[in-house]
């Protein structure tokens, strides 16, 4: 598949905002994964803190609520010794129609180095980065567009588990373990920013990606994605080394695209029966939150092939790595 012009042009996120995984080269992605390895080690110490971002201010701006992701980012910032300004804007008096510019200007007046933001509208993070070009913007999810740190932590989890199996380390393997790795993504891909970030990361790292979903839940432009569309779910399950599941994004309107939840489970849910058809050592992943019984059976979630807990725990080291490279890498004298 042809990547579009502008794909994979950023060689490193040092001193830069992180808006979309689409833009990162393989080197840039591997650099984040490698840096996260060190932070995994930091997170195992009794004092889970390093002074790398001491004196820096990180604002977390969540226009769309997500306790888990926000806490993960804020924990990451605090473990880097940054000062954290937390604005759960979704619950404040900001109504639809409030100028993004005004909200940012208020925060900027407090002298922030970086803002982590989540917004229900695609492109919001890019627009913010234009208003405050001197501030590093970390996209925590923008509408249907991208959720870069999720894509990174998913890739990191795969590398972590596979390198353990191959008796090597993530650092030593680089991107090698992704070469030709068979990754299947199932579910509401059309409305999923995680899907876009995952596909960008996996394809850039060299994996072979297939998508499987009811016709209405595939994106209109899927023919231009670096993936193959699998029409036979069972066949795809038997093919895959990694299966990533996505829930129905009903808050983004997927309700009208399928007849019912039951129908969705019938056609594309990972039931116990279907899970048996998978390779015995295949990995099962889910970015959360999960709808047990819809896209994935409870017993499958709790089985040994599911690495969902690892994904969750890898969130903090990956976000520490992103904040460290982005913010610590942007001292004076550095061009972004």
């Amino acid at each position: 598949m042809d990547r579009y012009e502008g794909a994979g042009v950023i060689e490193s996120i040092r001193g830069r905002s992180l808006l979309s995984l689409d833009e990162l080269s393989q080197e840039a992605i591997v650099e984040v994964l490698d840096t996260a390895e060190s932070f995994v080690e930091v997170n195992r110490r009794s004092i889970k803190k390093v002074p790398a971002l001491k004196g820096r201010v990180v604002a977390s701006l969540f226009f769309e609520e997500s306790t888990r992701t926000r806490l993960s980012f804020e924990t990451a910032a605090k473990r880097l010794s940054a000062d954290v300004l937390s604005l759960a804007v979704a619950s404040s008096s900001v109504k639809k129609g409030e100028s993004l510019r005004d909200t940012i200007a208020t925060i900027d007046a407090l002298g922030i180095d970086a803002v982590v933001m989540r917004h229900r509208s695609s492109g919001a993070a890019l627009q913010v980065s234009r208003y405050v070009p001197h501030v590093r913007v970390i996209n925590g999810g923008d509408g249907l567009h991208q959720h870069p740190t999720q894509g990174l932590l998913d890739a990191f989890t795969i590398r972590q588990v596979l390198s353990e199996r191959h008796d090597t380390t993530g650092l030593e393997s680089g991107a090698a373990l992704f070469e030709g790795l068979r990754i299947l993504i199932v579910g509401d891909i059309r409305h999923s920013r995680v899907a876009r970030s995952d596909v960008a990361a996996y394809a850039t790292l060299g994996a072979e990606v297939r998508l499987c979903a009811p016709g209405t839940l595939l994106p209109e432009d899927v023919a231009t994605w670096p993936v193959t569309v699998a029409s036979d779910f069972d066949e795809a399950l038997a093919w895959a080394d990694v299966v990533g599941l996505l829930r129905l994004q009903s808050e983004r309107g997927s309700g009208a695209f399928v007849a019912s939840l039951r129908e969705f489970t019938f056609s594309h849910g990972l039931t116990v029966e279907r899970a048996r058809r998978m390779k015995p050592d295949a990995l099962i992943m889910h970015p959360g939150p999960m709808n047990r019984g819809v896209e994935i059976d409870s017993r499958v979630v709790d089985s040994s092939r599911a690495v969902v807990e690892r994904q969750v725990s890898n969130g903090v080291p990956i976000r520490m790595a992103v904040l460290y490279l982005s913010v610590a890498g942007s001292g004076e004298g550095h061009t972004p």
Binding site: D34, T35, S38, E41, I47, V50, A52, G174, Y324
Partner: protein, 189 residues
């Protein structure tokens, strides 16, 4: 090249051009041996030591020092590696270097830590190492062993064990490994 070497090569900075070699492999081996004896002389109880090499330049010297110490004392010696990238206070002046593994598998409390690095220059790396160590527990004492002391300290840090004192100019560069020590220049960044 493994991914690790690849990364380090990419981030090591501009290329080094040697002007002359100041120590050979044998010279370095002799200096290591001498330092090991000095350490034993000063500390007596090798079992209470922790030889901690600073990533990445101190890694090889630390393990060489640990094996010589084990040989002359006849006991196993506790060793480890410490990455201090996250503790540096000069991030705005120097580019980020890729972080490497920290591997310390034993408790440092009440031990005497001997930090090992290849070159002692401004002292900022050692200061970062001291900060890092304080997050790892409370050693009874910290000592410093370096292959080369090239002067130009910016902080009140002094080494306890030195392979060789080499006065240098600010714009010169030193490469010190177990294979030898060279003086030369680096291309400007």
């Amino acid at each position: 090249m493994s991914n690790e070497d690849d990364r380090q090569a990419r981030t090591r900075g501009p290329a080094f051009t040697a002007k002359s070699q100041l120590m050979t492999t044998d010279d370095v081996a002799r200096a290591m041996r001498r330092m090991a004896h000095e350490i034993v002389e000063r500390n007596h109880d090798v079992a209470s030591l922790s030889i901690i090499g600073l990533q990445t330049g101190g890694r090889a010297p630390a393990s060489a020092l640990a094996s010589v110490l084990a040989e002359i004392s006849g006991q196993p010696v506790n060793a480890g590696m410490l990455d201090v990238s996250f503790y540096r206070d000069d991030l705005s002046r120097n580019p980020l270097v890729a972080s490497s593994a920290t591997n310390i598998d034993h408790d440092l409390t009440d031990r005497t830590v001997v930090l090992v690095d290849d070159v002692l220059f401004t002292g900022r790396t050692i200061r970062a190492a001291l900060n890092a160590l304080s997050d790892w527990g409370r050693p009874r004492a910290v000592q410093l062993a370096v292959l080369v002391d090239r002067g130009h300290r910016e902080l009140p840090i002094r080494p306890d064990y030195v392979g060789k004192n080499l006065p240098t100019a600010q714009d010169e560069a030193i490469v010190a490994t177990l294979e030898g020590v060279w003086i030369g220049t680096r291309e400007p960044a």
